[in-house]
């Protein structure tokens, strides 16, 4: 865990120094918008006037306190405050889509494994191939056009209506659901194919095991075999995917949040990249990596919780 975090800070540090030559020279030459004062601030913040190894340790020291400096933009807010302001929206949207993905993909994958080589299974397979190939941002455009322009039932921008403040609580909830529907739906669609395929393969493996054959031979009902014997084991590897899908979801939020103008961390990241707001870029890069790390940790813990064999092994060893 700790070596990984140090590695993350190191890679992030390398990214700042990727620019050919002196990062500050390139700043002013590539982007005339960066003023002399911003340049000086940049030098001071990353201690670019000091030797490289000292720069790294100073960056590490700040990192421990989550101090990523001030944003280059007009508001001059602290980077960490800016990120924390935006993070909840992104987290909630991602949690919502993760829950939905599992609710839809697992039954789909398990069913198509059980009904292997039937029409249902083949239809799911075709869906999976298309789902892997479809660019989700393009699907987002089509949905925006269909639901927002032709049918006009869903808002296609932002997370709340302009009169949000004057709504009752119930109206507020409906309003947010309406706004979040398309982004969440599309994010779900994006991960559906992979997970349902994973669940199918996992279930197929289990259905071929001897103990399933033995259960059938003993005349146990199909429903009981599926839910009591097969499903439990088939879902073990699937659990780890929850944690491992974090980087993909967070990365995808850049696209969805910028398409649908949702004020989350992804949109902030996109805006910062466009405006070359380096302190914010670095801050979000590190926070994104830490979230991924937490996701992996969650996967390990979940795996130990659902699979007693892992726990026994750990205890024994």
């Amino acid at each position: 865990m700790v070596p990984l975090i140090i590695g993350i800070t190191f890679i992030s540090f390398v990214v700042v120094h990727l620019a050919p030559g002196d990062p500050t020279q390139f700043l002013s030459s590539m982007n005339p918008k960066i003023s002399e004062t911003a340049r000086e601030k940049f030098i001071k913040m990353y201690n670019l006037d000091k030797p490289v190894y000292i720069q790294y340790f100073l960056w590490l020291k700040k990192f421990v306190k989550f101090d990523f400096g001030e944003s280059f933009s007009q508001d001059r807010k602290k980077v960490i405050d800016k990120i924390l302001e935006r993070l909840p929206v992104t987290l909630w949207l991602n949690i919502a889509s993760m829950v939905l993905v599992f609710a839809i993909a697992l039954p789909l994958g398990v069913m198509s494994a059980y009904l292997r080589d039937t029409i249902f299974d083949k239809a799911v397979t075709v869906f999976v191939f298309v789902g892997f190939a479809i660019p989700t941002f393009w699907l987002a455009l089509l949905c925006m056009y269909y639901f927002g322009v032709i049918v006009g039932v869903l808002p296609i921008s932002g997370l709340t209506s302009y009169n949000f403040e004057s709504m009752t609580l119930f109206e507020k909830i409906i309003d947010i659901i309406k706004h979040a529907f398309l982004p969440v739906f599309l994010s779900v669609f994006g991960s559906l194919a992979g997970l349902s395929r994973f669940a199918r393969n996992s279930m197929l493996d289990v259905l071929n095991e001897d103990y399933i054959v033995a259960a059938r031979a003993r005349g146990i009902g199909e429903g009981r075999i599926i839910f009591k014997h097969a499903l439990k084991n088939a879902l073990l590897p699937v659990v780890t995917i929850i944690g491992l899908s974090v980087p993909g979801l967070i990365g995808g939020s850049v696209i969805f949040e910028s398409i649908f103008s949702i004020p989350g961390m992804g949109q902030l990241f996109y805006q910062s990249v466009m405006m070359r707001d380096y302190p914010v870029i670095m801050g979000i890069l590190v926070i994104g990596a830490i979230l991924t790390l937490l996701g992996n940790l969650l996967a390990d813990i979940m795996y130990a919780v659902v699979d007693p064999r892992i726990r026994y092994k750990k205890r024994a060893g």
Partner: protein, 273 residues
């Protein structure tokens, strides 16, 4: 086997079709993809402009045809970079084991911690977006899976008798690695490379869509979609056709890759079967 062949042939037809389109783009495209015609802006698809025209009166069909070149070029170069890095690191880590393996695999773990799209965007923010940078950056951020795969394969191959025999004869490590091990781990690399092209094309189009990839006026499927998004209210054709092109191309590489997997390793049940 039959299933694999079918996937393979479907994929191959699509892939070859788009490669031909990109080679013969100047013959296929009826107009210059960058020529501006203010009199014909936002024309709906018609017999004159079968995919319509964009906000500068450029022919969308011609732009989509030329966009094929960008996609294929980015896909191949990015995958070449990621396969080269992944294969070398995977071979070295798997073959030598020990501390070398630990260090290299830790590096892979660290790289995998970054949401790859974040890492790509951050690097582009520092290096400025361009075709070359996009190809290199996608390549440099997508080799980790290859490295893990090649490492695992190498570890299983290196304990076989013919490798041990080669070692006993005193053959140099570099020759064992590249002449004796590499050919035996090549088939999963081919599969990964084919699927990797699909991934790289998707990433490039997303980057160009966000305005952080291939820059206009060079046509790419992603940056045509950017103007599709800006004019979504009335010019649906700007959004529809480039997206379809991406969908079909990516589908083609995925089918080819899965078919290849079935053919090269009939026992595998990773995907279809």
């Amino acid at each position: 086997m039959k299933k694999g062949n079918l996937l393979f042939i479907c994929g191959l037809v699509i892939v070859v079709f788009f490669i031909l389109v990109s080679i013969f783009a100047p013959l296929i495209a009826p107009y210059d993809p960058t020529s501006i015609n203010v009199k014909e802006i936002f024309q709906a698809p018609s017999s004159k402009h079968i995919f319509g025209t964009d906000e500068l009166g450029r022919d969308v069909f011609s732009r989509v045809v030329y966009g094929t070149r960008v996609s294929i070029f980015v896909g191949f170069v990015a995958v070449f970079i990621s396969i080269a890095i992944g294969t070398i690191l995977g071979l070295v880590a798997g073959y030598f084991g020990g501390i070398v393996d630990i260090i290299l695999m830790r590096f892979v773990d660290i790289m995998l911690c970054f949401p790859s799209f974040f890492l790509i965007l951050a690097v582009i923010a520092f290096l400025s977006p361009s075709l070359t940078n996009v190809m290199i950056i996608i390549g440099l951020t997508s080799w980790m899976g290859v490295a893990r795969l090649v490492r695992a394969e190498t570890m299983s191959v290196k304990s076989r008798n013919y490798i041990i025999a080669a070692k006993v004869q005193g053959i140099k490590n570099s020759i064992i690695l590249f002449k004796h091990i590499l050919p035996n781990v090549a088939s999963p690399i081919f599969v990964t490379a084919t699927l990797g092209v699909a991934g790289a094309i998707l990433t490039e189009s997303a980057l160009s869509f966000l305005g952080l990839g291939v820059q206009p006026p060079t046509p790419s499927w992603g940056n045509i979609l950017t103007s599709g998004k800006d004019n979504i209210m009335f010019a649906w054709w700007l959004s529809l056709y480039p997206g379809l092109a991406i969908l079909v191309t990516v589908l083609g590489y995925n089918l080819l890759g899965e078919g290849l997997r079935d053919i090269l390793d009939p026992k595998s049940k990773k995907f279809g079967n």
